[in-house]
């Protein structure tokens, strides 16, 4: 199983594409929004949590279709489905690999980009915490969407339409954690909800995604 994770990480790094693209998108968004909104008043500081979360979410979306589509094209998905590793584990490992090359780097650069967006100082620890708790859900929900669209040509747009509504709760609670953190309010409720969405997604969706892949391979 470690071999599959290492292979996916190696492919992501060698092929470029997904991994660099998501980060570049996140960077561009965080640089362009302040230029568009302008420096007056506290506008930028007020919208910073939302912008950062929307940026992370869209950056994540960019590389989702690669999770299974590439393996389906070159036939490895058929071979993995007949391999001794259960398909549920394949899905979970591929989602983990996706998180390691998108969610984790996004979380690490977010505090730097938050400076551009004038995020209040009190919000920084909560920015990191909310992204660490929330981005695994983005990868796992994304893997589920990718599994549903695996056999389709140019399924990228359909994938976005399927996955974006499922991202909404994570977006709402993720941004809420940062906003409340920045204003030093109580944030136990959104934090708990954010964590529970991630845990629920990680626990259940690999099974749903594996079932979707089995149907799509027929």
């Amino acid at each position: 199983m470690k071999a599959l994770l290492l292979r996916d990480l190696r492919l992501a790094i060698r092929t470029g594409g997904g991994f660099g693209l998501g980060l570049a998108f996140f960077f561009l968004l965080s640089v362009l929004v302040p230029l568009g909104v302008g420096p007056e008043g506290g506008t930028l500081a007020r919208i910073a949590p939302g912008i950062l979360w929307v940026g992370a979410l869209l950056a994540c979306l960019l590389s989702l279709d690669r999770i299974f589509a590439l393996d389906h094209e070159d036939g490895s998905l058929d071979l993995l489905a007949t391999a001794p590793i259960p398909l549920e584990a394949v899905v979970a490992l591929k989602a983990l690999a996706h998180w390691l090359v998108t969610g984790l780097p996004l979380t690490m650069v977010a505090p730097v980009l938050a400076v551009f967006l004038n995020l209040p100082t009190a919000g920084y620890p909560w920015l990191t915490i909310s992204l660490i708790l929330g981005t695994p859900a983005l990868s796992v929900i994304g893997a589920f969407g990718a599994a549903l669209t695996v056999g389709l040509r140019r399924g990228g747009l359909l994938l976005s339409l399927l996955v974006l509504p499922l991202y909404v709760p994570t977006l709402i609670f993720g941004a809420e954690v940062i906003r409340r953190g920045a204003e030093a309010m109580s944030l136990a409720t959104p934090l708990a909800l954010l964590a529970s969405i991630s845990l629920g997604a990680v626990a259940l969706l690999p099974f749903a995604a594996a079932a979707a892949i089995r149907v799509n391979l027929r």
């Binding site: 070159d74 058929d78 071979l79 489905a81 001794p84 027929r218």
Partner: protein, 205 residues
């Protein structure tokens, strides 16, 4: 182990393409599937590989017995030959890859990226994967496509060696692999016919 088919029917896209398949394949034997394009060879192999459910009947196989080699070789073009093969070996429990590399004459290509190989070399690498799976039943879908004469002979030797150790193989091919002990199954008599034999004019009669 042995492979037994009991009145098996297979379907593609909801349409039954083959039906009434019954035979037993003993250890050390190979079965060659013959039939024109679209007769359901690939569908039968995918069904036996467990990728799709049978449309009717059943087949008996021990769990984890199958190594499937499809039209696509499942190679990653940015990984080297050794990395590709090592990955599959690790998935199947980590046997050494050197015997497989030697058997299919890949040793000289070890450090080349799979994307830089010729079609025939890619095929040989895809077939080398079979050797690292350690599975007794090989399901081979047109294994000799894009192989030259020498490579076909090389591969036939690999299959013969596999059969010699008690392995089984079901092979869909149009090329004579030179396996004298192989049984041949002609799929033509098993092709499913459409139920409606009358013309479409029936609706207007």
């Amino acid at each position: 182990m042995q492979l037994t088919l009991n009145n098996l029917a297979v379907a593609r896209g909801g349409v039954t393409v083959l039906q009434g398949l019954s035979f037993t394949l003993a250890p050390g034997k190979a079965l060659i599937l013959r039939g024109p394009n679209g007769s359901g060879k690939t569908t039968l192999l995918r069904t036996l590989a467990g990728l799709q459910p049978p449309a009717g009947g059943s087949f008996d196989l021990p769990p984890d017995a199958v190594a499937y080699a499809a039209h696509a070789d499942g190679l990653k073009s940015t990984l080297t030959v050794a990395e590709n093969l090592t990955f599959w070996a690790a998935i199947y429990g980590g046997p050494p890859i050197d015997p497989a590399m030697q058997a299919l004459d890949l040793v000289a290509l070890v450090r080349r990226r799979a994307g830089e190989l010729s079609a025939g070399q890619k095929r040989r690498l895809g077939l080398a994967r079979l050797l690292v799976t350690g599975r007794p039943l090989w399901l081979l879908d047109e294994p000799t496509v894009s192989l030259d004469v020498a490579s076909v002979a090389l591969f036939a030797g690999v299959v013969r060696q596999h059969l010699g150790t008690g392995g089984l193989a079901v092979i869909a091919t149009h090329v004579d692999l030179g396996l004298p002990e192989a049984q041949v199954l002609d799929l033509e008599p098993h092709r499913a016919r459409l139920i409606a034999q009358d013309g479409f004019d029936e609706a207007f009669a």
